[in-house]
Symmetry: C2
Subunit: 757 residues, 2 copies
């Protein structure tokens, strides 16, 4: 009987207890669109801890490319479990150290053609489970249950094989992003695997890919000795080998049949072999899978507790899964002992203990970082200190930093608004003199995508000399405004004037005739223009968008944009057309999705646009569209996002909007009011104070604000300030089915240029 019990227990999934808000996290949200051809969130369903180095999860693709997470909910087979993943990006990388448990005899390089059984296994979502810190799946081809959990730097696997069969584990150091991606070819420069003793292996790989150079080390300890092993070095098989070096290094470890599951604990380091050993020793002392999984779950429920929310289960699922995605990165690359490899590939110790990376800044500066300043103030300092470290060795702040290395993905220098926002909000633990120096240097020193000498010469970027010129001119104008504001607050008047002046250069690309920002060449001539025509990532004045979507990008001075277009009425008309003009040219960029007219919620350039109605006296339209997006473009299933989740940005948009406010300008301390969906939300622990939002009658058709009180007093402004939030207090909305066209329409109801304290 004991035997049977063990058997039953062994094959059952044993997830950790999901307490607190973990109950509302569905890690499958964002893992797959409704059909394979739509955009999905590109999230992964694997096990990780908040901001941890390790994301241990399933890959359904051999050499992942799209989705960049390596897992598509629409796929039906799994190729293995790798230890690092990106959450929500448009480009793939990582996928370090694929482990695949299996049974039976398998031929390397099995193909459908040669009829051999491969490692790959079918699975079903019915026999798959994911909760914060835990993932499990039944591998049908191998009759094997795989369960995964993680610590900050380690993965722990539990494999339950059929009792009478020899269990095997394939370890693949060559699993990586598609080697033929159009950006720099991915290539393993050197990989190493060695057998330390009969239940321990170590290894590393050095790989160039999207991140130009990554060094990743591991140490894996199995709970049982392997009975046999086979290493593989390129095409060479080394039976019972002790070491393999090469570009393509793989191995198989075989274990005697057993009743008890096989556990593997794997320490990872981005620094050194010793780091992988120390990380494992520090974080996973024994083979207690359940305790590790419970600790991972607990770390999530603690982090998710920064907010209380009331609403429907689906709303809470979207909200808390959003926080979960928001807290999945930036990832602490530093070892447990604070060692990290800098942007100059030199190892140092982080004085503040952590070195964060994966900065998808073109996305996350908009709402994700402003949300971190509310619910992750300590880590916000860590993020910015880590960005400053890039400046110190590399000469400028991150554009898009991956695994500590600059990728120059996307445009602008949007670490600057992150810094300016933290400075304005008084986030502690940052050397702001150094931070300002970094922001200024990043705005003056030419670097890829930022040829400032052209800006100084032409007062805009001419498309014939710098592509993506309209998007760049607009976005850098915003970054310049952020530098100017920091300079002003620091008393640096000359800098203030210089950058304030440059922050108006968007005007130089406003074409009165078409009423759009439009590309110009170095002769000062307008380029042929159709506001519906999309650009991608080069070769057009527009970046992943069209003239319609980029028209709205003057968050630093919306009143001036209104003036440019001819006043409130013209501006509102233009907004109305934007949300209703359904014309879709053939060349829609692959990143544009989630359409309402020309509004494309699936990509970031649109994200602030809904709230611009507040600036022109018709806030009820913002309320209407905000509610529409939340209700139609988010859900609690795998297809929960209408585009790439982008490292927390899509989630942050929802979290802010569902509370009823959004940072149109992410660095001015002002949040525009919209359409709260949650009946109640509390941001907890802001300097010991809570900020409470109540939305009476919220949800469904009640998308319109009827009236508002702040701390009990009637409130007619269409915005709140950061001080309102951090000083604690209560914001109460009363919602209804019909717009209250009298609320929020007074001239002084409009969001100002910045918070003045």
């Amino acid at each position: 009987m004991a035997f049977m019990a063990a058997c039953t227990t062994g094959m059952a999934q044993r997830p950790p207890q999901t307490t607190g808000y973990n109950r509302y996290v569905n890690p499958f949200i964002g893992t797959g669109a409704v059909d394979k051809n739509s955009l999905s969130g590109s999230n992964f369903p694997g096990a990780c801890t908040p901001f941890g180095l390790v994301q241990l999860g399933p890959d359904t693709r051999d050499n992942p490319n799209d989705p960049a997470s390596g897992y598509d909910y629409n796929d039906t087979t799994i190729v293995g479990f790798s230890h690092t993943h990106l959450s929500g990006t448009g480009v793939a990388d990582l996928f370090d150290f694929l482990f695949m448990p299996y049974t039976g005899d398998i031929t390397w390089n099995a193909t459908p053609e040669n009829g051999h059984k491969g490692f790959r296994s079918a699975f079903t979502h019915e026999q798959e489970k994911a909760v914060p810190g835990y993932y499990s799946v039944q591998l049908l081809a191998h009759k094997t249950l795989a369960e995964l959990t993680a610590t900050a730097h380690c993965g722990v696997h539990r494999y339950t094989f059929p009792q009478q069969e020899q269990g095997r584990v394939m370890v693949d150091l060559d699993h990586s992003l598609d080697k033929k991606r159009p950006y720099w070819e991915c290539k393993v420069i050197s990989a190493h695997l060695e057998v330390v003793n009969d239940h321990t292996i170590e290894g590393y790989r050095v790989i160039t890919g999207w991140s130009r150079l990554r060094k990743v080390y591991f140490r894996a300890v199995f709970s049982k000795p392997f009975a046999a092993r086979q290493l593989r070095e390129g095409g060479q098989v080394i039976n019972n080998g002790e070491v393999a070096n090469g570009r393509s290094v793989k191995a198989v470890f075989s274990f005697a049949p057993s009743n008890a599951p096989l556990l593997v604990k794997v320490g990872i380091s981005a620094v050194s072999a010793e780091g992988a050993r120390s990380n494992l020793a520090a974080e996973v002392k024994d083979f207690d899978f359940d305790a590790t999984a419970q600790a991972a779950a607990n770390s999530w429920s603690k982090e998710l507790g920064v907010m209380d929310a009331e609403g429907t289960d689906e709303q809470k699922t979207i909200l808390y899964t959003g926080l979960y995605h928001l807290f999945t990165q930036p990832n602490n690359l530093a070892d447990a002992d604070s060692s990290y490899a800098g942007t100059d590939y030199t190892v140092r110790k982080a004085v503040d203990g952590a070195h964060y990376s994966t900065f998808s800044l073109w996305d996350t500066y908009r709402a994700a970082h402003p949300l971190y300043t509310l619910v992750q103030q300590g880590r916000t300092a860590g993020f910015i200190n880590s960005m400053i470290r890039q400046y110190e060795t590399y000469g400028y702040l991150p554009v898009w930093q991956l695994w500590g290395d600059e990728t120059y993905c996307m445009i602008g220098n949007h670490a600057i608004p992150v810094i300016a926002d933290a400075f304005r909000k008084g986030i502690a633990g940052i050397d702001y003199a150094k931070a300002y120096e970094a922001a200024k240097a990043s705005s003056l020193r030419n670097h890829p995508g930022s040829p400032f000498h052209l800006l100084e010469q032409y007062k805009y970027f001419p498309e014939d000399k710098q592509s993506q010129s309209v998007s760049l001119t607009l976005e850098i104008a915003y970054d310049d405004w952020c530098v100017a504001q920091m300079a002003l607050q620091m008393g640096k008047k000359e800098d203030y004037q210089f950058f304030l002046n440059r922050s108006t250069y968007y005007r130089n690309l406003y074409d009165q005739q078409t009423g759009f920002f439009r590309g110009k060449n170095s002769q000062g001539e307008w380029l042929p223009f159709n506001p519906l025509t999309y650009g991608g990532n080069g070769g057009s004045p527009f970046t992943e968008g069209n003239g319609w979507q980029y028209f709205w990008y003057v968050p630093q001075d919306v009143p001036d944009l209104i003036k440019l277009v001819g006043g409130d009425k013209a501006f509102v008309n233009k907004l109305d057309t934007f949300f209703t003009h359904n014309a879709k040219p053939e060349d829609v960029n692959g990143n544009a999705s989630g359409f309402i007219g020309q509004y494309a919620h699936g990509n970031e350039p649109s994200h602030h646009v809904i709230y611009l109605y507040n600036y022109a006296g018709e806030p009820w339209k913002a309320q209407q569209y905000a509610a529409q997006v939340m209700q139609q473009q988010y859900n609690g299933k795998s297809s929960g996002y209408s585009g790439n989740e982008d490292c927390g940005q899509m989630s942050a948009w929802y979290i802010f909007s569902a509370m009823g406010f959004y940072p149109v300008n992410p660095a001015n301390g002002i949040y525009a009011l919209g359409s709260p969906q949650l009946s109640k939300a509390v941001i907890k622990g802001l300097n010991g104070k809570n900020f409470t939002v109540v939305a009476e009658g919220a949800g469904g058709k009640n998308c319109y604000i009827q009236r508002v009180t702040l701390n009990g007093k009637p409130y007619n402004k269409t915005y709140i300030t950061h001080s309102d939030i951090v000083n604690g207090g209560t914001l109460v909305f009363t919602m209804g089915e019909k717009p209250n066209k009298k609320w929020g329409v007074a001239a002084d109801s409009r969001p100002p240029l910045e918070e003045v304290r």
Copy 2:
């Protein structure tokens, strides 16, 4: 008058005083063949210190390939001065951080076609000078004198520009080996250059090439502020830029016209940015070029003083330049503070202070390392400790290690004879238990080029499963003999028997019918065979040689080889044919040169063959050919070597041979006697004792030994032992024009299998 004096002094080359044996060093030896199509030594003429990290010298090729040193004496223009070079290899790499002083306006990417003046300058050997630790050349196009010197980790440049002209310095971080070489494409992964202040720059590059991954950092301090600067990042020019990152990073620094020369001191590190700074601070405290150059010269005269030699000036020039080349590498990769990056790309500290790399072992185990055990005993321990560090992180000893990274160039595991030799000779400072463990592991663990499972299965390498099979079977048999001898001396009887048995597997490829070692397939069938047909580096049973050249490769048991071929007479006949059979098939491998019949002194497989006459009773023929090679294939000019100098091996052959003895088996403590060319040679400081060789009448036609005394007693053996040398004493040869066919012909005159003490 002071002005004129300064002017005159400024434009004159001011090399350091050349004292001691530095007078006999001509760094141009090996830098160019008589004509461009012949093989040269592939040495470089630049400034370096013994075993230093930096070799600062001129490159005549834009992206060097052949010669691998980047400099060909036959070239007439120089493209700049880079800080790292290989000396004598057949494959190119390094060339880090090219500096080029120039005058006038220069367009980037000048070509002969576009008529623009480029950085490249004509030069003449009349206005070029190289002595140990110093190199200078007049750059005719720029009317600029460039002088270079070095410390272990730093280069110091002194540029004297025309007084009325603005001097400029171009710095190129993209100068590297030919990016289209057939082995792994060379590619800069990331490069960085930043302006620290108005006279200091720093930077690094991470590059994949022959060495799969090299990180190289520098800090350069100019003696004057630059008046202007231009950075270049790919095709983008950044005027007065502060930082440039990218794959192709270059810069130009301009200086106001001046009477005084411009100095630049450049610290290099293979570890970190901090390492480059610390190395510079530790080694070049001020801008005293002359003192630095004198210190470099002094370091050489001290090292070269390990031997005293008497003979003609040309003999001494060949000898001491040979020592100079021998002591140019292995290079200490560790920083001044002992930090080094291991084979696993992890930074550690070397407990013995140094971490040596550039192990061209297929070449150097033959005579270079045996010579180090006589004249560089302390560093021999350092070399072996460094090799063991590769074993500890990588799993096996170096095959061909470059910049700390395994390249798998050539074949065999010839770190093993180096270790076995040191063990037999009692070199102190090595953990021999660990060293034996490493040698054994390297002989059992499959790795690229060493598929031992095939050897165990077939008792030879079958060509259809492992190319270069004859060369591999022979060379690994020798390595196995070395492991066996260590095992025997350590009392590991089982290991001894195992490896002794494997060391005889050469017999399994001896084809009685043709009388050669011959390729066999896995069916046991002989492959088609012509002993004249060459192999290269794959695709043939022979490595950079033919059946004739590889026939002789049983250094561990020459008597058995004699037996295989049918006895002394047959063996001597075969040797005679070898040295006289002039047939040259069309497919001579590019590495074969320096022919006497089929003997090819320009490549290593032939190096021991001359001395095999001693083993078959006709030592006078060894004397004749040894003298012929020394007199005809070495000279004191740029064409001084008949093939690649190969990191000291070609030089070590001469140094041993010119003293009159040579280590046929590099690990058995036996040296076969040949034809001394020096009238006197003293190896100094061997445990406080000197070993003196006197060769009365040596040189010219007096190539034959008439008689020998050892410590005053008549000596009829055709060999001496290592004990004879290290115990001190005097070996006196009397030489004559005619062979003494009675000396050295007794049965007990023949070299034994090993020294028995």
